[in-house]
Symmetry: C2
Subunit: 675 residues, 2 copies
């Protein structure tokens, strides 16, 4: 169409239904001036310091000490924006520069004694301090935390768990002081989740008393090995142990891979994994071994050993169980990942909610002021349920750490199942919340300096590393099924994984749900338990039906994925709720209890609203589903006045937030532009 | 707990239930060798060239020509990996380097005549060629496409739509030849979605015959202006037109902002928006105006004009309608964004599905080969419904382009509603699919060279730019409500937005859905129409109920957000399905028709499975929901053998994919490492 014609048509089209033109005099918009939410919002209805104590749970002084250490150093890249100082890595740096800065920051933290006792400290206090400080490093930068985590939890953890005195004496203190730098060479190009399938071999040679490590194919190259590309001097190597031509399965070995000058050792080749969409502060690398010889003493021999003459010695006869024992350090890694996901969520929620309390858009009355974003019910519904879930998951993270501390052979299975489920649930919640918060901040969410968008990149590895979430959830379902079969076959009560509720009669959901019921812990527990119990029954029935049709157990399992996925979610939701309810029950202060109750209700009810399973399997009637929806909107509006207090309770120092969380007009003013 | 104790306990714990140890001899894993899917998969059941024609729709020769132009130039950063050449920007470059490369690439494309006719060409052929070539540039790099889009669709579009002959003569050809570089200064720090609230002023001064442009406050600084930070020489400025102290509302003006040497013009200050999580190849900037004087001729005067003496002239008397006319170029931007989202999805699906056809994990039989990822039903369920949706949305994109080409005053409202809904739906699908594909590729999805992860960053602006998706969907709902009120009040038939089905009796869903019904177009249309109709009824009822309680219309609208959100989805799903059905109906080849039918069914049924609204509002009984779920799994397994053919039909040249889409073992081999 010709442009002129088109224009004429627009004009005449509009002319057909014009109304009287209005003109207004020009005035500075009253909407656009920054008022700190501390001024515009209601006074807090509860004590945020007490709430922070509840959330952080432990080592508050240590946390604040480390926050301060970081803010004080130029290495943490402080920048003045809108009258406030913010610290964060410069993500406009190349991968090489980011890696260099990560290592410099670690050296600074070493000098300040941050890592003291991380491997040589004894007892739960030392472990809790380690967790707390690691959490603080990740609030600054996840790459920094991952690099530290690889060194301490994976490399250090492998020495602790798989090594014996000779290894502990030689490596633990040296690791803690960063005299050596460790990496964890497990994953290969061809095998990630399926660790048992790795191809690297360690062949024992009795005449020399050495293991000979080899990379038999390109797919056997070690891959994604954090710190391997640049810095690591030592590696824990996962390899198939070969003695006299027999494969004894996956075992772990120590080898030096770089000398004190940083040169790669003979018989080792290393390459870079290259640029990633996040975590470029971590130097992930690839390793090939060419007849690398290591002394017999370098097998980590707490689980199994080889005698000088080449006799294989293991107290664990079952190779599958032996293999499972080698995955222990991954559990502490998974615990740390789950908890880190919660802190990442917290950062994004503080920023998005503070911004929504100062940013206005559109007015709904003629000539009235524009509305604050958080006064839109739809915006409340975007952010506040995520806030409620984050509270629950924060308690779940604390529960998980304490469970991990209590680890014992009897608890190993429970810890594996709970840490797997929570890692999957919390990291999923993290990415979802980051995306929602980034979008809730509009274009400002795209700016790296505003953190949320960059957190998405840095945390994107979470759903697939240290156990792919799908694989982890399958393992959870398998464990639940095994417990189910055990209980039903032997007619014994359920006693693992919190399934004790299955020993009681099935809960009954009232035909007509009213507000007070919807908000009661009883109902909330009941409906989550009902869903879990029914789905476990369905899953067991479906798997056994496929088996009856001649399918193998494995095959029956993979075709029952739909109900398995629902079940995995049901299990983690119920377990997370349980930990939140426990935390709430331990609170005596009425004002804290009150708000925690609202958050618990919102967390549960929004789950009922979102997860189609409740309607699909009939746990909720359509009438009750409608009642749930109304209550969700109501809870959002009740929690709205406490939103600022709730994010203030997260205890993230201002410097670790971003300009849009404060006076974003001043932060963007011409006077701040460097010319 | 002491470590030694712990270890002993693990050992003894395991000892309690050991079984006989098995040992196997070491052998190279048979699972890890690369077999091209073209070899391992079944022959294609349909002609992929014909399918590509159907999907790309138009200008296939032009597309291939431009693909080739890019592959041939070193500027597009070709790298050899695993025996194949791939092109993609180097994202390890700083923001500054990425911007420089974008501009160099544009200069290369200018020299090759790519942009010939983009603004001076006449008729639908020229427009379709422009769309096609823009789509090809974004397959290489979205930042490149955005930078081009700002110059041609926003700056160029503003001149075309708002300007008259004097502007066309002066700027269009110069723009097409890049003798000048344009930007589009609409958004401000304080006002993004709410354009009518912008604060920049243009005051007419009759004695000099000039407009004086000012930035009255920090929140009025122009923000996010693509190309402003470095390159733009000219700007379309959105400002409140002030004549004799009266505000005539938002109008558009042209100003030169940089001279021919790239120096910023007097009375203008420019600053950078800084590093972003994606699109760093675009130099987004901020602009302040300090009594900038421009001649009267520089008002873009097709909608309204000012006489030399200062008389305001507009054929459109209603300021709201006048304002709406100024947003026209955003419509073409939205059309381009919606279509680009589909191409981004296609890239990610080709890569993730090809990888899933060559990557194995875990075996389900003792000593059997590991399973291909895409042979896991759960993996099929992750990817194939997204593939089916992408086919539907591809047809929707084609429909949208054709609708846009037919633009006329009568169609303006429809185009606005459909482009808003499709922009929101398609960009949401894009980000969701990218995330799923990135995770489906495991760690490889994190590598920038594998594209999917980086696409997430580059496309992350989509849900919030050129109309925030939430705001767009609200506008869709408002338009549907207005049509509803119009039809009901005046008792006239529905005739806009595809709502004609509301004139017919409500469809009846069979009590027991069987496979053949579930797969019928009739049923699929019926249930989508039923949902849309019922939600529109509910929405109208809820809004009017709130109004009856004394709420204003605007206020009633914002509290009815829950059903509005459901309605927006219902509308776009139905409209997308309709465009897919039309495309399918036009196909005569039986093999194409067959696979398109399967994809249509999977698209609809997975929507029924995922959107809780079908159960919540009772469109599906729980029995029928169970039947739907079974059918989804069945459809996935039926489509699985055609997965390779379906992604091959997308017509993305190999060089624009990534190493994991091909021989990823060779691409990672030691021989490819640069030493």
């Amino acid at each position: 169409m010709e442009n002129v014609n088109f224009r004429t048509q627009i004009l005449s089209g509009h002319l057909q239904n014009h109304r009287h033109a209005t003109t207004t005099t020009i005035s500075a918009s009253p909407c656009v001036s920054y008022v700190p939410p501390e001024v515009s919002e209601q006074p807090f209805s509860f004590d945020v310091t007490s709430m922070r104590k509840l959330m952080d749970g432990h080592n508050l002084g240590d946390r604040d000490w480390l926050f301060n250490l970081m803010v004080q150093s130029e290495l943490f890249n402080p920048r003045l924006r809108g009258g406030k100082v913010f610290v964060a890595p410069d993500y406009n740096h190349s991968m090489e520069q980011q890696r260099e800065m990560t290592m410099k920051r670690i050296e600074y933290l070493v000098d300040r004694g941050v890592f003291k006792g991380w491997l040589t400290g004894k007892g739960p206090e030392a472990e809790m301090r380690k967790f707390a400080l690691l959490e603080v490093t990740e609030i600054f930068d996840y790459a920094l935390a991952i690099k530290i985590g690889v060194h301490f939890l994976l490399w250090g953890g492998a020495i602790q768990f798989f090594g014996t005195k000779r290894h502990h004496d030689k490596w633990l203190s040296a690791t803690e002081n960063y005299l050596i730098k460790g990496c964890f060479a497990m994953t290969e190009l061809g095998h990630g989740s399926n660790v048992q399938g790795i191809e690297t071999t360690a062949t024992y040679e009795a005449k020399t008393g050495e293991f000979v490590i080899n990379t038999p194919s390109e797919s056997a190259q070690k891959y994604w090995i954090g710190a391997a590309a640049n810095d690591a001097t030592h590696a824990v190597i996962f390899a198939q142990l070969n003695i006299d031509g027999k494969n004894q399965g996956v075992h772990t070995f120590i080898a030096q891979i770089r000398d004190e000058n940083g040169n790669i050792c003979p018989n080792i080749r290393i390459a870079d994994c290259g640029h990633k969409i996040g975590l470029n502060g971590v130097d992930n690398g690839r390793i090939w071994f060419d007849n690398l010889r290591i002394p017999r003493e370098n097998i980590l021999n707490s689980v199994a050993d080889v005698s000088p003459s080449g006799k294989y010695l293991s107290a664990i006869k079952d190779p599958d169980q032996r293999f499972a024992a080698f995955l222990a350090p991954l559990t502490s890694g998974r615990v740390a990942i789950a908890v880190s996901a919660v802190y990442s969520v917290k950062i994004s929620l503080v920023i998005a909610i503070r911004y929504a309390l100062t940013r206005r858009a559109f007015s709904i009355t003629a000539n009235g002021p524009e509305l604050l974003l958080l006064d839109y019910p739809s915006h409340q519904h975007r952010l506040l349920p995520l806030l409620a879930k984050t509270y629950a998951m924060s308690f779940a993270g604390n529960y998980l750490k304490l469970l991990y501390l209590k680890r014992s052979p009897q608890l190993m299975k429970t810890i594996h199942v709970v840490s797997s489920a929570f890692k999957a649930a919390l990291t999923r919640h993290n990415l979802r919340t980051l995306q929602e918060c980034r979008e809730a901040c509009g274009g400002q969410g795209m700016k790296t300096e505003n953190r949320i968008g960059q957190l998405k990149c840095e945390y994107d590895a979470q759903p697939t590393f240290e156990g792919d979430n799908y694989v982890l959830m399958q393992q959870v379902c398998k464990a639940l099924l095994a417990e189910y079969v055990e209980a039903k076959k032997r007619n014994k009560p359920f006693k693992e994984f919190g399934l004790e509720h299955m020993n009681r009669p099935s809960p009954v959901i009232p035909a007509q749900l009213i507000s007070s019921t919807l908000r009661s812990t009883q109902f909330q527990n009941d409906i989550f338990c009902l869903r879990e119990r029914d789905l476990l029954n369905r899953f067991a029935a479906e798997v056994s039906q496929y088996q009856a049709q001649g399918e193998s157990k494995e095959s029956a399992f993979i075709v029952s994925y739909q109900v398995a996925e629902d079940l995995g979610i049901a299990f983690s939701d119920r377990a997370i709720l349980q930990s939140a309810v426990e935390a709430e029950n331990n609170v005596t202060d009425a004002s804290l209890k009150n708000i925690l109750g609202l958050l618990r209700s919102l967390n549960v009810l929004v789950t009922l609203e979102e997860d189609a399973a409740f309607l699909r399997y009939g746990y909720l009637s359509t009438d009750n589903a409608a009642a749930v929806r109304k209550e969700v909107a109501k809870l959002c509006s009740e929690i709205r006045p406490q939103a600022l207090a709730l994010v203030s309770s997260f205890g993230i120092p201002d410097a670790f937030l971003s300009p849009i969380a404060f006076d974003w007009i001043a932060a963007n003013s011409w006077s701040t532009v460097e010319n």
